[in-house]
């Protein structure tokens, strides 16, 4: 019985080729737009998260907890900071940072600038760290009498540096009255937790401590073993400092995790939005299906009358028309999903995003087209079934 409906449905769709094609086109474009949008927003979302985790979800930032008064007389010192990896095995590298401000004189220009004291581990904690020219500090520099600086990418565009005619590497710069030699220029980094290096001048942290006469470390950037539990490592680090320096409390800056959480939410929001926008174009396509089916009901009234006369029940007629609508929208849904996925592949390829097909997208495509067929096919099928057989037979 069902197979008869099925072959009949195909035959009817085939007979009304032109109309079938037009309806298919509508549904293909509708589903295609929806699936394409959803697929690309998922790909894009995954890409953003991947980019960020490449920069370092395994990077944590700590600093002294100023909210606690007991903490007032303590500080993170360089030695304790540098010894951290020895006591907490999950820590691969630690980059202590010290920040301050100062005035530079260079090529006849004077300006204020952020000064960052860093150590040679900085490249190890940040994958986004890259040199434009020259080199970074090295452990071999340590006993040198010369003091070196590295310039951030935005600082490079500031007065003095911008129009500097000579060779920047090796040039001397005066910083808070001391003379330094420029040994490197950084590329811009998008690494959020150290992005002020872009608009700073970097000094070796030991040099900075000497010259600013302070042993205080403001910040610790820590890279942990990739699969370690961040809560556990964080607890271990806090414990370590509490033990090493009596009364010292450190605090983890959690904004990276928060950022990722936010980003995930944003991806979900974008996906929903694209479902909604895609849904609108799908609605247009679906109305096309309904239109085609309604036309078919009117055109095939006589046939409906004949079938009723030879014994078709209302539900037989209803099924036959409903099945046609479902087949139509399933075929359209299949082709449309293919189109949508293909176009999201192209967009991903163009943007060099990593392409994938998520099963949610496939489910959405099949589910939605199935639903569209039933929902928009039901009314025409209902009308066909309710047709008075005598009226139907009398139409020519």
């Amino acid at each position: 019985m069902f197979s008869i409906y099925f072959t009949e449905a195909f035959r009817n769709l085939y007979t009304a080729k032109q109309r079938t094609l037009l309806a298919l086109l509508g549904i293909i474009i509708g589903i295609g737009a929806m699936i394409g949008q959803v697929s690309i927003s998922m790909i894009k979302g995954a890409e953003t998260l991947r980019e960020f985790s490449q920069m370092g979800t395994d990077v944590m930032v700590f600093r002294k907890d100023y909210s606690d008064d007991e903490n007032d007389n303590t500080q993170i010192s360089l030695i304790e900071a540098l010894e951290l990896p020895r006591y907490v095995p999950s820590v691969i590298a630690v980059a202590p940072m010290m920040d301050s401000q100062g005035e530079y004189h260079f090529a006849g220009e004077t300006n204020w600038v952020d000064i960052l004291g860093v150590n040679t581990s900085l490249p190890a904690v940040s994958k986004g760290f890259q040199l434009e020219e020259g080199r970074f500090f090295s452990d071999l520099d340590r006993d040198d009498n010369l003091s070196y600086v590295v310039i951030g990418c935005e600082t490079r565009e500031w007065p003095g540096f911008k129009d500097f005619q000579g060779k920047l590497l090796g040039a001397e710069i005066k910083l808070n009255g001391y003379i330094y030699v420029i040994i490197g220029v950084l590329k811009c980094t998008e690494d959020n937790f150290i992005d002020e290096i872009n608009w700073s001048i970097l000094l070796p942290i030991s040099t900075m401590q000497r010259q600013f006469q302070s042993t205080k470390v403001n910040r610790l950037v820590v890279r942990r073993v990739a699969n370690s539990n961040h809560l556990l490592v964080s607890a271990q680090i806090k414990q370590y400092f509490a033990k090493r320096v009596k009364g010292l409390k450190v605090k983890r800056l959690e904004w990276i995790d928060n950022w990722i959480k936010r980003e995930k939410k944003e991806v979900r929001r974008m996906t929903l939005l694209s479902v909604a926008i895609g849904g609108l174009s799908l609605l247009a396509g679906s109305i096309g299906i309904m239109n085609v089916m309604l036309t078919a009901v009117i055109e095939r009234r006589r046939e409906i009358g004949i079938l009723r006369a030879i014994g078709a029940r209302q539900r037989d007629i209803r099924w036959q028309f409903l099945l046609e609508a479902i087949i139509l929208s399933l075929i359209g849904g299949l082709l449309g999903s293919g189109l949508g996925i293909a176009s999201s592949y192209l967009i991903a390829w163009w943007n060099e995003w990593q392409f994938f097909v998520s099963y949610q997208v496939l489910l959405l495509g099949v589910g939605v087209s199935w639903g569209v067929g039933i929902f928009f096919g039901f009314y025409p099928a209902y009308k066909a079934a309710k047709l008075d057989p005598i009226v139907a037979l009398r139409t020519e």
Binding site: I4, D316, L393
Partner: protein
């Protein structure tokens, strides 16, 4: 087999009902060959639709094999049409996209018979009406007379107890019309099928066992 008592049917045009049948009493025995004549618009087709369970009377009693059809649901009437009644129309009413064989077999689809059986019975029916060699032809490849034979085969394939024909020869020339009528007479005589033929042609009426005349919604 069929008892009509005081059957009335009216169509409503806005507020005013328009009576088409106004109290029909009619008995049809099994094996009857009945002609229904009457002027155009006298209500013959309306009567046939009621006899054929395509339409319900506004009032009156219709006993089909002793059972009052008023109590049947729409689905039950459909099943009764499928099993007990065969229709033949003036304009054949075949499904244009299907072959003669598929057209003839179609009523059996609603009986959930296996495809093989359906084809066998449809083929046998086509043989009976003399069209075995046209089984694979579509209606538009057949002459009017041949199409009407296919329609008759379709009406008979479910072994109905009642065959209703509304001006079955109206669209055919007199020679072919006579052939069709011969077929009806033969079917009635050899198989004992009850047949009701609506016609304007007195020659046809003369060959039937019985003839009733309708006038303005009443049987004379």
């Amino acid at each position: 087999m069929i008892k009509l008592r005081n059957i009335a049917k009216s169509y409503s045009f806005g507020q005013t009902p328009l009576p088409v049948l106004r109290g029909i009493d009619l008995d049809i025995q099994a094996g009857d060959l009945l002609a229904v004549m009457g002027a155009s618009g006298s209500g013959k087709s309306t009567l046939m639709n009621i006899l054929g369970l395509l339409d319900r009377p506004t009032s009156g009693q219709y006993l089909l094999e002793g059972k009052e059809i008023r109590h049947y649901s729409d689905d039950e009437l459909s099943i009764l049409r499928n099993q007990k009644i065969g229709f033949v129309f003036q304009s054949f009413h075949l499904l244009p996209r299907l072959t003669a064989l598929a057209n003839v077999g179609y009523p059996l689809i609603y009986r959930n018979l296996p495809r093989k059986d359906i084809e066998k019975r449809a083929q046998a029916m086509l043989e009976k009406v003399g069209l075995a060699d046209r089984a694979k032809h579509r209606p538009n490849e057949l002459s009017g007379g041949q199409q009407q034979r296919v329609a008759i085969a379709r009406a008979l394939v479910g072994k109905p107890s009642l065959l209703l024909a509304d001006e079955p020869t109206g669209a055919l020339d007199s020679r072919v019309g006579k052939e069709i009528l011969d077929l009806f007479v033969t079917l009635n005589q050899t198989e004992g099928i009850t047949i009701v033929i609506i016609t304007h042609d007195p020659n046809i009426a003369n060959r039937c066992k019985r003839c009733v005349v309708m006038e303005d919604g009443l049987l004379k």
